[in-house]
Amino acid sequence: MSKFQATLRSAVLALGALVFLFPFYYMIIGSLQTKQDASLGGAFPHPSNITGANYSAINDRINLFSGLLNSGIFTAGVLVCTLIFGVLVGYSLAVLQWRGRGVTFALALLVQVVPFQLLIIPLYVLITRTYGLGDNYLGMILPFAINSTAVIIFRQYFLQLPKELFEAARIDGANEFVLLWRIALPLVRPALVTAALLTFIGPWNEFLWPFLITKQASMQPLAVSLANYISNVAATASNPFGATLAGAVVLAAPVVVLFIVFQRYFISTDVGSSVKG
């Protein structure tokens, strides 16, 4: 490997990192500026132009706390359902032999390529009209309740556990719940972290579905209230640039922080295997 090639590779990778990260840097800087400075110098603002006022400005318009709370409830509901029911399916797909196993696995793969958007009209009719779950956390959670990618990740990990482990435990008289809870689950902790992170970003970032079914501002997750601010209100604010970016920082921060904290448990091959099945 020549030195030139190594240098070229580093340059390409560094340029990539710059392109991916700069908008985030600009998001934070912009959220702290008193006055919008779109010039190149604005990317490196003078300390006198730094303020926290944008955060209180956006908070006056869209109540960040209730937005975060709604996003949190929506996301927590999906996480709990996925971690309980997803683990159960993943376990039975990998370890147990039962009729319908193949079909269930095929369904879990198929569901991931069904464009959700085709389903918005019937789901909207069913959930808001038939079940009366508009402006309701249950209605928000239901379409996302069990993340199929997480199911596949759980299955993949349970498959890697040695068969003898389960046979030995069954001979010792352990029932399947004990086996799953005491023996299998502690061994697949990395899968739990990867699947939980992947599941987290779905509802936390989701815009279209909660946008459709929440009409009351007090029920809207942060992504929806921020989007409404961008499309309707921003034009009337004194520093729309700063206030919008402050909202964007609040929306993005939890996911970015979680990922950085847990990224060493997050293994790319998990995600690869999950989609390849």
Binding site: F85, L226, Q263
Partner: protein, 311 residues
């Protein structure tokens, strides 16, 4: 001692299982464990899928809950209504433009960055985080930054100076759709890089060594070993990026303020929302959705045929 008891216990249990009902398999509990998920798939995917097709072929409108109304079968009338609307035709054309820009760019850039990242030893964790962050972040949050980077007096135009398009990117009817395609490429790239990184672990190192002894340079190795080696991943990236493109909604809704200028960046899903929910024609919206899904399926099959090889 232990061996005899072990043997004595297993023998009857296997006999009992053989005698027991085999209809549900060796571990019927598996079905019980999977029941909540199966119900979920049925309620949230299977039934709505059938319902969507039903709506598309009937004269369907919103009613108060519990009201019984006649919804006659109307054949293809909803499809005719939807596709005689020039906006609908245009939105499908827009997705075409989107896919032509987004899909090749995604495949080429993510394969190059992933193979670079695969060989690097320093700063690997940093690069991984950096590349993945746009994918993790809510569209709504990053759209806010792009709005300001690409507006008339934004940073991008300041840097480009006289080269900046006028009117600016997102309000220019030629540049609106390509800008959205670039945005989505940038945002989703981290996920595809991750897929390629996983696939690269399966390309045997001996192939690179053999290519080296045959005198192949870095570029030759990339095209003769890496690209064929990650072909299953490429098929997957083609499929996922096509489905993502067909699902486009948030970006035209927010970046170009509802598919502007003058419908130059509307997407079929945006029209499904406007027609189905804002204007109360769920039947036409479903017809658009059905056609969209059929088109995606056809594209996916073609991709599989030409890029899939034996996989």
């Amino acid at each position: 001692m232990t061996t005899t008891t072990g043997g004595a216990e297993t023998a009857p249990s296997t006999i009992a299982k053989r005698r027991g009902p085999r209809i549900l398999g060796k571990h019927p509990l598996g079905l019980l464990f999977s029941a909540p998920y199966l119900v979920f798939v049925l309620v949230v995917f299977a039934y709505p899928l059938v319902y969507a097709v039903y709506i598309a072929f009937h004269d369907y409108f919103f009613t108060a809950p519990g009201a019984v109304v006649d919804r006659p079968f109307v054949g293809l009338a909803n499809f005719v209504d939807a596709f005689t609307d020039p906006d609908v035709i245009r939105s499908f054309g827009n997705v075409g433009i989107f896919l032509i820009i987004n899909v090749p760019l995604t495949v080429v850039l993510s394969i190059v960055l992933a193979s670079g990242l695969n060989k690097v030893t320093h700063l690997k964790a940093f690069y991984r985080v950096a590349y993945y962050i746009p994918y993790l972040t809510a569209s709504v949050a990053v759209v806010a930054v792009w709005l300001f980077l690409f507006n008339g007096s934004g940073l991008v135009n300041q840097i480009l100076g006289p080269l900046a398009p006028s009117p600016s990117w997102l309000i220019n009817s030629h540049w609106a759709m390509p800008s959205i395609a670039l945005f989505v490429t940038w945002k989703q790239m981290g996920f595809y890089i991750l897929l390629y990184l996983a696939a690269l672990q399966n390309v045997p190192n001996e192939l690179y060594e053999a290519a080296s002894t045959d005198g192949a340079g870095a570029i030759r190795k990339f095209f003769s070993v890496t690209v064929p080696g990650v072909r299953p991943a490429t098929v997957l990236v083609l499929l996922v990026s096509t489905v993502t493109g067909a699902n486009l909604f948030t970006e035209p809704y927010l970046l170009t303020n509802g598919g502007g200028p003058n419908g130059a960046s509307t997407s079929p899903v945006l029209l499904m929302y406007q027609k189905g929910i804002e204007q109360g024609h769920p039947d036409e919206a479903s017809a658009i959705g059905v056609v969209l899904v059929v088109l995606v399926l056809v594209i996916a099959l073609l991709q599989n045929r030409f890029a899939g090889g034996k996989d």
